[in-house]
């Protein structure tokens, strides 16, 4: 608690710098990442993030000191160069784009690591190089006042550009060909978007490092996509997730004490996993639940259909059937059947008496409808799709559970209420 208060009191200038720095970083990277994600260029973001390393090293070797602006220029040039090389390889050789991206990523990063080792082993360079290795995995504690100004400036440039060119960026992300035909300078707009990506990466390398930077770009956008279909909301959620992870990541790294960057990425990934599982509509759990509900519906409808068909040839309507008779009519797992019978009894489609079941009027109605659709669909398949009568049963078995009342009506009208199905069984209509 004390730690919490101390952390959020902003008294400690180091903590203040870390929080502000990572917030600026996450706003920039999440915003830019939204467009990278929408343009399906996530992999390119990853490549750029890794490719800035040799640029930083070269800038340091040439300048001889660790000056943030100089290093940023180096990073910027290298990031840019990597994109040009990817484009060149993809367009001028027969190597497909994804391979080109992988190639550039590993070659640039490899050269970067090589240069970094060279700097550390060279006595005339290494004396000034303290902290340079931070660019690999990031070190948020090292953010100072000057860095903050730099981050702030770049974040403002990013925000302003995205605000001014919002409609253009969205159009280019959605339909690049259309944008070309109305005369938008698509190449320039794409160049600007890519420049923004490089800028966001450059802010991030100090606190998160080149290795984890792509997570900062893509994860917020990919996660936000689970929660909304609306564009503005999507961008807001992504930015919000970025900021939340930055603050909580910084806090955990302060309390434990451990590096900030990996914690921010950990939190982001955790939120991503939770969203992946639990988001409504698009989440795994919600999908599984929907599938499960459908499975139950199919079982229930099959039971009602079987009971209806058992009673079809009898004169009396209120006959009770045992589990054994039902299984004879429609083989299925016995435990599945008894669970279905229990559900149907509870929903008043069936009446249970000892170990036998009888359809209520409600259940009979439903059984009749399913049977009718099944047989109508068989008629449709033989008549219109010209499938042999002995091949239509299985298909009808699945269609009977899906058909909506509107389609059911259309089907009846199209077939003009036939009286029998292809197997010469009577089709039951509601009286």
């Amino acid at each position: 608690m004390e730690q919490l208060l101390h952390f959020f009191s902003f008294q400690d200038p180091i903590i203040r710098n870390v929080i502000l720095g990572t917030i600026l970083l996450s706003i920039s990277s999440s915003l830019v990442g939204c467009f990278t994600f929408l343009r399906k260029r996530s992999l390119v973001g990853d490549a750029v993030a890794h490719a800035v390393l040799p640029g930083i090293c070269v800038a340091f070797i040439l300048h001889g000191e660790k000056n943030l602006w100089i290093l940023m220029i180096g990073a910027f040039v290298a990031g840019w160069l990597s994109l040009i090389v990817i484009d060149l390889i993809a367009n001028k050789s027969k190597i497909p784009e994804d391979s080109a991206i992988a190639l550039v990523l590993s070659v640039f990063f490899g050269v970067g690591t090589l240069l970094l080792t060279h700097i550390q082993h060279n006595p005339s360079l290494s004396s000034n190089a303290a902290g340079l290795e931070n660019f690999l995995f990031g070190n948020a504690i090292a953010i100072n006042q000057q860095d903050l100004y730099a981050f702030g400036t770049i974040a403002c440039i990013l925000l302003a550009t995205i605000t001014i060119l919002y409609k253009e960026f969205i159009l280019v992300s959605f339909d690049v060909n259309f944008a070309k035909t109305i005369g938008f300078p698509v190449r320039v707009l794409e160049l600007i978007l890519t420049t923004l990506t490089v800028l966001a990466v450059v802010i991030g390398i100090q606190s998160v490092g080149v290795v984890l930077m792509s997570a900062m770009l893509i994860t917020p956008a990919a996660t936000a996509r689970f929660w909304t279909q609306k564009l503005n909301v999507f961008i807001l959620i992504a930015t919000f997730l970025g900021v939340i992870s930055s603050i909580s990541g910084s806090f955990i790294s302060y309390v434990t004490p451990s590096p900030t960057g990996p914690w921010i990425v950990m939190i982001l990934s955790l939120i991503a996993i939770v969203s992946f599982l639990f988001a409504p509509d698009r989440g795994i759990i919600s999908k599984l639940m929907k599938q499960n509900a459908f499975k139950q519906k199919v079982i229930d409808e099959n039971i009602l259909k079987a009971l209806y068909q058992l009673g079809e040839n009898e004169q009396k309507s209120d006959i009770q059937y045992s589990i054994k008779e039902l299984l004879n009519k429609r083989p299925m797992d016995e435990s599945v059947l008894s669970k279905g019978l229990y559900r149907l009894t509870k929903e008043r489609f069936l009446i249970q008496e000892n170990d036998t079941w009888q359809l209520t009027p409600l259940g009979k109605n439903k059984g009749q409808r399913i049977t009718k659709i099944h047989r109508l669909w068989e008629v449709y398949l033989t008549k219109y799709v010209q499938i042999a009568p002995d091949h239509v049963h299985e298909d009808a078995d699945s269609i009977e559970h899906i058909l909506t009342p509107e389609l059911e009506k259309k089907l009846e009208e199209l077939l003009e209420y036939p009286s029998t199905d292809p197997h010469n069984t009577t089709i039951p209509y509601k009286k």
């Binding site: 929408l38 399906k40 001014i164 060119l165 409609k167 253009e168 969205i170 159009l171 992300s173 959605f174 339909d175 060909n177 259309f178 944008a179 070309k180 035909t181 109305i182 005369g183 938008f184 300078p185 996509r225 909304t228 279909q229 609306k230 564009l231 999507f234």
Partner: protein, 262 residues
């Protein structure tokens, strides 16, 4: 059999296009009269989409030139509208029907400017014209194929152009949508607009179009449907590719020989 016209609204002169040094269109040369509803007809892989893409400047051409209203495209963009194939975009994109239609106004707005009230009203009117007004706030991911096509059409209407190029607008749409679209296209033609449609259902050609362009890697015929859409020209377009032409095309691609620079 190519009917050239006086004062054409579109003139394609000696156009040759290739993909990765594999030629797909050879020396295509035709002109179109203003106010026609034209079908571009040909078998799969004949270069129909490539033809309108190169007219719209989306694919590079090896030789030839294209003039619209007797000018290059860059001078008359606001008068020209292009409807890409439905599958060319990601319909899972997080945006609404109305926002897509509003994109049709972007060409007139130019860079930096936001759509004004008048643009929004016009976009809504276009949405009404395609019978999709009540879908305006729907997310595009929830649309059926036919509805997606109508949305693209509404976006094109919002451009308020004089000449429209449409790539396979009838593919994967229901019969009701197809009827509604052709009705709309005919209405547009009657208002003096020129509409060019990539189409591959031969049965409906005579019913839909008053002008046809038949291609199969090269131009077979271009002219009024009645005189141009005949057994002979169809035979030529669909009677198999010219074997020699496609063999040479493959050869050029394999050897990486540039076809006619510049």
């Amino acid at each position: 059999m190519v009917t050239q016209v006086e004062n054409p609204i579109l003139e394609v002169h000696d156009l040759t296009v290739s993909y990765q040094s594999k030629p797909v269109l050879w020396n295509v040369d035709f002109s179109l009269p203003s106010g026609s509803l034209t079908g571009i007809i040909g078998p799969n892989g004949a270069g129909k989409s490539t033809l309108i893409k190169s007219i719209m400047g989306l694919t590079e051409k090896n030789s030839g030139y294209i003039k619209l209203f007797d000018k290059p495209l860059s001078k008359v963009r606001k008068k020209v509208s292009y409807v890409p194939q439905r599958e060319s975009v990601d319909w899972n994109f997080p945006t609404s029907v109305f926002d897509i239609v509003l994109m049709g106004r972007y060409g007139h707005l130019g860079l930096f400017k936001r759509p004004k009230q008048a643009d929004k009203e016009f976009a809504l009117e276009c949405l009404r014209d395609v019978g999709m007004e009540e879908f305006k706030d729907r997310q595009i991911s929830q649309l059926s194929g036919g509805q997606q096509q109508r949305v693209f059409l509404a976006r094109a209407l919002a451009q308020n152009a004089d000449i429209y190029f449409m790539d396979e607008p009838f593919v994967g749409v229901d019969a009701a949508t197809e009827a509604a679209i052709i009705e709309l296209l005919k209405k547009m033609r009657n208002q003096g607009k020129t509409v060019i449609v990539v189409h591959h259902d031969l049965q409906s050609v005579k019913k839909y179009f008053d002008w046809v362009i038949l291609i199969n890697m090269r131009l077979i015929a271009s002219g009024p449907t009645e005189t141009t859409f005949t057994k002979d020209t169809l035979q030529e377009a669909y009677g198999g590719k010219l074997t020699l032409l496609s063999q040479i095309s493959d050869l050029l691609s394999k050897e990486d020989i540039p076809t006619r620079q510049g």
